[in-house]
């Protein structure tokens, strides 16, 4: 070989080796940290509220599987406390939480509330700072077989779980059930993910697309390995082994990802732990879900600033679908919800002792990965208190658009439940157009709202109307955002 050829070959080899080194260094090294509260017994099924403030997990450190909770104080998880209000059962664990942490689906074996069969799924709600006694999720979902390890989508409308019921591909399989508005659908096996071996501990990520699960199928590192699959349409993609160092030759299960975070948690019975299954933290998460928009805030009394546990409905104004129904915490008033970017939502909060609250929230696509804060102040039911009605009109018209109707139905229900109240519907416009024109338009729009409420059974004498035109802007500005805020219809209590 000539010297020049040797030199070129050497350079080419160097470049190739360097490129490989570069490629390797581009993938960040995943580090594994043990959870500080692991015990010598099994600790598994970590579950975290989406704001990361509370970590739930299952442990049999007391001799029986029970659910424990670690609350965050100043960003530090405190010592685990056993949740004792869920009722008695021989075994109980694997909680799945709604993003707001107000509803929990757990698995229990021989729970005192009864069941459809062996281990079944149960539901508990958080009220006044406590978890209610769990009740069975229903015979639509539960079977006479082993049904366990639920995971809820961030909108609470899709339930994933593991079951060894007949009809799967063998062993433990993954199933999915959808909320139909008043009940869960019959579970369907995830045939694209199930094998003749065992698949279990499914967890759906906050993007509602990325599903992590564990399987002991051949081809893994050994025992149970963690796999990831992504929803494409209605089916999941080919699952991928999440790889080392998360997967080992031991059993690796219960993988969960936090929204917009590089942190994931999982459980493993690998050597070197505290004993049995232990919980670990993986940073960074090598299979991150898509970033999502999260919104949080506090619901409180507008007059006293006391936190209020209120029912909250998030409606996608384009599809008119209720995308989330949840409740702010009774003690702290906090709420937390995951939203899809690129949509406009209506947020409605109500509590029997307050005037309901509605607001339109636009979440542009550019907001993906961000956390929005919206505090909600509920006005007490007293004279001169007003709430904005989220009603919509075509440009220059006073005919109610269809998307206004749920809000007006809510207003009608409010007036029916408070028959001693008289209200005034007040119409406002932005500053575009003449005073006289805007005055008439706002008056006609207020009349449209009154007409709808009267048709819903509210006595006409209880509702008066007024059009203010552009005389009472909410924001004195001419920007598009300010004008959108100023075009509004409000309902004000004038007598009770």
């Amino acid at each position: 070989m000539k010297p020049i050829q040797s030199l070129l070959l050497g350079v080419a080899l160097s470049v190739a080796v360097f490129a490989q080194i570069q490629t390797r260094t581009l993938a960040p090294k995943v580090e594994i940290f043990p959870f500080e509260y692991n015990s010598a017994a099994d600790d598994f099924c970590p579950a975290i509220t989406h704001n990361g403030a509370t970590l739930y997990f299952t442990s049999d450190r007391s001799g029986e599987q029970r659910i424990y909770v670690c609350r965050s104080r100043s960003g530090v998880l405190q010592s685990p406390e056993r949740i004792r209000t869920l009722g008695d059962a021989k075994q109980m664990g694997c909680p799945a939480l709604t993003p707001d942490g107000q509803v929990m689906v757990i698995s229990a074996y021989q729970h005192e509330a009864g069941s459809a069969g062996r281990t079944d799924l149960y539901q508990s709600k958080r009220s006044e700072g406590y978890w209610s006694k769990a009740v069975p999720l229903g015979t639509t979902v539960n079977s006479s077989a082993w049904d366990s390890q639920a995971s809820l989508s961030s909108d609470g409308r899709t339930l994933y779980f593991a079951s060894d019921r007949p009809g799967g591909k063998g062993g433990i399989d993954l199933y999915r059930s959808r909320w139909l508005g008043d009940r869960w659908s019959l579970p369907e096996p995830l045939t694209e993910l199930n094998t003749e071996f065992d698949e279990m501990t499914p967890t759906i990520a906050p993007d509602n697309k990325t599903l992590y699960f564990s399987s002991n199928r051949p081809g893994g590192r050994g025992g149970f390995d963690i796999y990831v699959a992504r929803l494409q349409g209605d089916r999941f993609s080919q699952p991928q082994n999440i790889g080392e160092p998360i997967n080992t030759d031991a059993n690796d299960i219960s993988y969960i990802a936090l929204p917009n975070s590089t942190t994931a948690y999982f459980a493993s019975d690998r050597s070197g732990g505290a004993g049995g299954y232990d919980i670990y933290r993986a940073v960074p998460n090598p299979e991150m879900p898509e970033p999502v928009v999260t919104m949080h805030g506090i619901v409180r009394s507008a007059s006293t600033q006391v936190p209020v546990g209120a029912d909250i409905i998030i409606t996608d104004l384009k599809t008119k679908q209720k995308v989330a129904i949840f409740r702010s915490d009774d003690e702290s008033g906090e709420y937390y919800v995951t939203l899809t970017a690129g949509r406009t939502y209506a947020i409605t909060a109500y509590h029997p002792d307050y005037l309901f609250y509605s607001e339109q929230v636009e979440v542009p696509s550019t907001e993906r990965g961000r956390d929005l804060e919206r505090n909600i102040d509920l006005a007490p039911i007293e004279n001169d208190r007003a709430t904005r009605l989220l009603v919509f009109f075509d440009f220059d018209k006073a005919d109610l658009k269809e998307e206004s109707l749920p809000e007006l139905d809510l207003a009608a229900e409010f007036l029916k439940s408070h028959p001693d109240i008289r209200v005034r519907i007040e119409g406002h416009t932005d500053d575009v157009g003449s005073d006289e024109y805007n005055l008439q338009l706002s008056k006609r729009r207020a009349e449209s709202v009154k007409k709808y409420l009267v048709n819903k059974g509210i006595e006409e004498r209880r509702i008066s109307t007024i059009g203010y035109g552009k005389s009472q802007p909410k924001i004195k500005d001419t920007s598009p955002e300010a004008r959108a805020q100023n075009r509004r219809v409000e309902m004000k209590i004038i007598a009770r």
Partner: protein, 282 residues
């Protein structure tokens, strides 16, 4: 048959005892004996008292030797009688237990029918016409009982109890009421004096019934825990008797005019049992 039945129940019980948990349907493979849950360390013995009743269904075959075919209406009857048991339960596993019972069980049933009796009209004329007589009767048979059963809890609340019960007859009594429905006809006493259109007879007929009977008992129970150690357990079940209620009878039913008319065979009685049990875990 009994061995096969007991074996079947035992296998079912063992199969369901796999100590599953929320992580594994079959429990930890190398799991040492699971520590008992707090407050669940139990004495395997429980004592109970049961009160209730049984709805008995009586039946018999009546073979006609000649006409008329009256009394065929007496082929079946039913009635309710009380029962009371004291019982003990020994838990073999969380699901399976052995139960023993001692008690009193009364079987009661009534029958209704009619027959035509010869009636001389007018009296002294020697002219006999058939008179329709309504007959209602009831039988009460008292048994002392003792039984053994296997208890299998197939659900947190639901329990199957199956076993055999020995019935020892202690006494039996009957009541028969005949009412003449045909105008102008009535009953006469042994001296030939008219005594009216209604005649009632009652007494003991203990020997008419078999002294020993065995039943196969199959029950479904529902556990209602009242406290940590007290459970209310209503149960609904069947008593399938494996031997006849009474021997065949080919001697009664002799018509005073036309001779033997019918015979009674295959005299059977089964029952549906509803009992309310109060169990105390020791």
């Amino acid at each position: 048959m009994l061995k096969r039945f007991l074996l079947c129940l035992f296998v079912l019980g063992i199969a369901g005892y796999a100590d599953e948990d929320v992580l594994r349907p079959k429990g930890r493979p190398d799991q040492p004996p699971a520590p008992q849950a707090e407050g669940l360390v139990r004495n395997p013995w429980a004592l109970g008292i049961e009160v209730g009743g049984s709805l008995s269904f009586f039946g018999q075959d009546i073979t006609l030797h000649q006409s008329p075919d009256y009394q065929t209406n007496l082929t079946s009857g039913s009635g309710i009688g009380p029962m009371i048991n004291i019982a003990a339960d020994y838990a073999l596993t969380d699901y399976v237990g052995l139960q023993a019972r001692l008690g009193f069980d009364q079987k009661h049933y009534g029958t209704n029918g009619y027959y035509d009796a010869p009636c001389q009209q007018p009296i002294g004329s020697g002219n006999y016409v058939p008179a329709r007589v309504d007959r209602s009767g009831s039988q009460t048979i008292n048994y002392w009982t003792g039984g053994l059963a296997l208890r299998y809890r197939f659900d947190e609340r639901w329990v199957f109890i199956g076993g055999f019960t020995y019935h020892s007859r202690s006494s039996a009594s009957f009541t028969t009421t005949d009412t003449v429905l045909t105008a102008g006809c009535e009953f006469f006493d042994d001296l030939g004096n008219p005594i009216g259109q209604r005649q009632q007879e009652s007494g003991s007929n203990t020997a008419s019934f078999n002294a020993i009977r065995w039943s196969l008992d199959l029950n479904i129970g529902y556990r209602v825990p009242l406290s940590e150690n007290v459970v209310l357990l209503p149960r609904l079940g069947t008593q399938i008797f494996l031997s006849p209620l009474a021997p065949d009878d080919r001697t009664t039913g002799v018509h005073p005019v036309i001779g033997p008319v019918y015979s009674f065979t295959n005299r059977r009685l089964h029952a549906v049992v509803l009992a309310l049990g109060l169990w105390f875990n020791l």
